[in-house]
């Protein structure tokens, strides 16, 4: 009989064909779809993340795992309502105004999604106003911005100023990244966090979300 562990292993192996069979079997067995997601699919990705961080998995392998997870999700999603799909939080991600370098950004999108976050990818060359409008519309927990050039990194600052001007700054945590970005720069421009690669960015978001929920618990 198919187990949740098999599902996780299948995600880890990036076995696109196998996952369909397994997930369908579990559904047919009457396993709770939410359990399949949490303890099977996302649990698999939770094994992947540290292996990637330690250098034992490459990005293409992580992507295959993510694709495999998504393939499994496709089968489960119709069985539950959108609200029931577990989300660790919502994040808006984009490269700033004038910056087209999206490899790092795309990695982060993939890794956040596989981690169970709801990700709204604004793409590249995102103007200050567009970030602001997206925050208004989607009410994310976190906004992630990246810049690969010394000339565009200043747009991180102007985007944060835009959020301040629009009264949205306090509703979100802001994380930033990209080659020229440092912790010092993050402090200077008033970002909440900085990360120099996709895996630590994910960990950073996890920490932010747990801080947020504990402070919510306190104020509740």
């Amino acid at each position: 009989m198919a187990t949740l562990n098999d599902v996780s292993q299948c995600v880890l192996d990036g076995d696109l064909d196998g996952i369909k069979v397994l997930v369908q079997a579990l559904i047919d067995d009457g396993t709770d779809p939410i359990v399949i997601i949490n303890d099977g699919l996302i649990a698999g990705m939770n094994i992947v993340a540290p292996l990637f961080k330690s250098g034992e998995m490459f990005v293409p392998e992580v992507m295959e795992s993510a694709d495999t997870m998504n393939e499994g999700m496709k089968l489960v999603k119709p069985l539950i309502t959108d609200e029931d799909i577990p989300s660790k939080g919502k994040i808006i991600i984009g490269t700033v105004n004038g910056d087209l370098h999206d490899i790092g950004k795309n990695l982060l999108v993939m890794m956040m999604e596989s981690r169970g976050y709801t990700v709204i990818d604004l793409g590249v060359d995102v103007k200050e106003e567009a970030f602001s409008a997206a925050v208004k519309e989607h009410k994310p927990n976190i906004v992630g911005m990246s810049s690969l050039l010394t000339t565009t990194m200043m747009k991180i600052e102007s985007t944060i100023k835009q959020l301040v001007a629009d009264g949205l700054r306090n509703q979100v945590k802001i994380i930033i990244g990209g080659a020229p970005v440092t912790q010092e720069f993050a402090d200077d421009v008033g970002a909440d966090g900085y990360s120099d690669d996709a895996s630590t960015a994910v960990e950073l978001c996890d920490r932010m979300m747990s801080d947020q929920s504990s402070s919510e618990a306190l104020s509740a």
Binding site: G55, F58, V59, P60, M63, G98, L100, D102, I103, N106, L107, G123, V124, D125, L149, T150, T151, T152, M153, M154, P180, F185, D197
Partner: protein, 458 residues
């Protein structure tokens, strides 16, 4: 196609060394690049700042401080000549007046250094390729194309010696090929999209340079092969994948020379040794002394057949001694002194082999830059004149070289490397020899929102 390369420029591996080449290029100031001596090539950029009408005076001051500082140090250290590279920031191509202004500041600093110290200099102007700023990229017309040509033309008129670019044709597809480590997609992006764009672009650049007594120098697969190298250094993709991409980028770079480029090729184009072997033109390379711009596994071997030796780029920030570009200038000059001292003694071949030996067994990306490997693969590449087939062949030959080297213990390898080489080998075998057939096959996996076929003549 202006030129065909159907044989190697060298008959003897021992002649294939740094500092000299069959077809040297002479700058306006009389530096003979590839004429026996390795010259330092310095590049620099602004610290983190906005560029606009308000900040341009500040940017202009920074550039004039940089050029004054680096050329003063070059003169103090008796550099035989200095090649300056002005690689523009996006804003400088988007607003050519900015780029033109900075280019003039540099030309002026060069003139002053010539008068004050008798220092020989030359400048390579490298506009940023903004065509990918349209999404999907618009490669053959539109404002980015126009402003780029405007910038080139005026800079050439103002006195630039060389044109270069890190062109981006096919990058919109190649980026995903990299993160997926998908060699078929990479070959499509490099061998069809990249080569087609190079043909279009470099025809224009060669015409422009001929009309303005300037040299078309060469392109770099920076956004392709160097991105692969950086991803590999981060452990994101296999080193063997990056090594194969490096060589698969050679036919693309060669297109510029077919169109009439004469070198020195771009510093960050590690395709350089292959270009030199095939075209006999001088090449620019960068290695350990470019570590401020990117780390690499090829710090010494990159110099083995270099004709100019570059720092890639560095911001104008203060280090404990001096501003970083001055520091880079000093380091480049000492590296060049050492190589040229060996040449003076007739020991250039021995010194080349030390540079090679010190790196080549430690990383597959270094291994594919070994002069013997370069000559062996290049000798096969010149047998076909079809850019797509050359790209496929380059990948195929590199996979074979690496498998052999790993089996023979000639290069350090990760336990997963052989698996990836096998995977690539199989994938390449499935690629048909006819580019149209291949394109048709690829259509199903290509994200057609990302690129416009007609911009590549497809």
């Amino acid at each position: 196609m202006a030129k065909q390369f159907n044989q190697l420029a060298y008959t003897n591996l021992d002649d294939f060394v740094y500092g000299s080449c069959p077809n040297p290029v002479t700058t306006k100031s009389g530096m003979v690049i590839g004429g026996g001596m390795v010259y330092p090539e310095i590049n620099f950029t602004l610290p983190g700042m906005d560029i606009n009408d308000v900040t341009m005076p500040k940017a202009a001051t920074i550039y004039s401080n940089i050029i004054e500082g680096v050329l003063k140090r070059a003169a103090e250290l008796y550099a035989p000549g200095v090649l300056i590279e002005f690689e523009t920031l996006p804003d400088f191509t988007e607003h050519p007046k900015y780029g033109i202004e900075v280019n003039r500041i540099l030309l002026n600093g060069m003139k002053e250094a010539s008068e004050k110290y008798g220092l020989k200099t030359a400048i390579r102007t490298t506009p940023n390729d903004l065509r990918e700023f349209s999404r999907p990229p618009v490669m053959r017309s539109g404002k980015y194309w126009e402003t780029m040509l405007e910038l080139y033309e005026q800079c050439a008129r103002d006195g630039s010696d060389f044109f270069s670019i890190e062109s981006t044709g096919g990058k919109e597809i190649h980026d995903s090929a990299l993160v997926k480590a998908d060699i078929r997609l990479a070959i499509f992006a490099l061998g069809i999209l990249g080569c087609n764009d190079m043909e279009f672009l470099w025809k224009h650049l060669v015409d422009l340079s001929n009309a303005n007594s300037c040299f078309a120098a060469g392109d770099s697969a920076c956004g392709f092969a160097n991105t692969a190298m950086v991803l590999a250094e981060k452990g994101f993709i296999p080193h063997v994948f990056a090594a194969v991409i490096r060589v698969a980028a050679v036919p693309r770079a060669l297109v510029a020379f077919e169109q009439g480029a004469v070198g020195p090729s771009k510093d960050c184009a590690y395709e350089g040794p292959y270009l030199k072997a095939i075209t006999g033109s001088p090449i620019s390379m960068e290695g350990k002394t470019a570590a401020g711009a990117h780390l690499s596994p090829i710090g010494n071997i990159a110099a083995a057949v270099a004709d100019t030796w570059s720092n890639e780029s560095i911001q104008q920030v203060k280090l404990l001694s001096e501003m970083a570009p001055v520091v880079a200038m000093e380091q480049l000059i000492y590296d060049c002194r050492l190589m040229n001292a060996a040449t003076l003694n007739g020991q250039q071949l021995m010194f080349r082999d030390l540079l090679v030996q010190s790196d080549s067994a430690l990383d597959v990306q270094a291994y594919v830059l070994r002069p013997d490997v370069v000559m062996r693969i290049s000798a096969e590449l010149v047998k076909t004149q079809d850019n797509f087939l050359r790209t496929k062949l380059a990948a195929q030959l590199t996979v074979a070289e690496l498998k052999k080297a790993i089996v023979e213990g000639k290069v350090k390898s990760d336990k997963r490397d052989m698996k990836w080489l096998d995977k690539m080998e199989k994938a390449i075998e499935t690629i048909p020899d006819d580019p149209n057939e291949f394109y048709n096959e690829m259509k199903s996996v290509l994200d057609m929102d990302k690129f416009i076929p007609s911009e590549y003549g497809l």
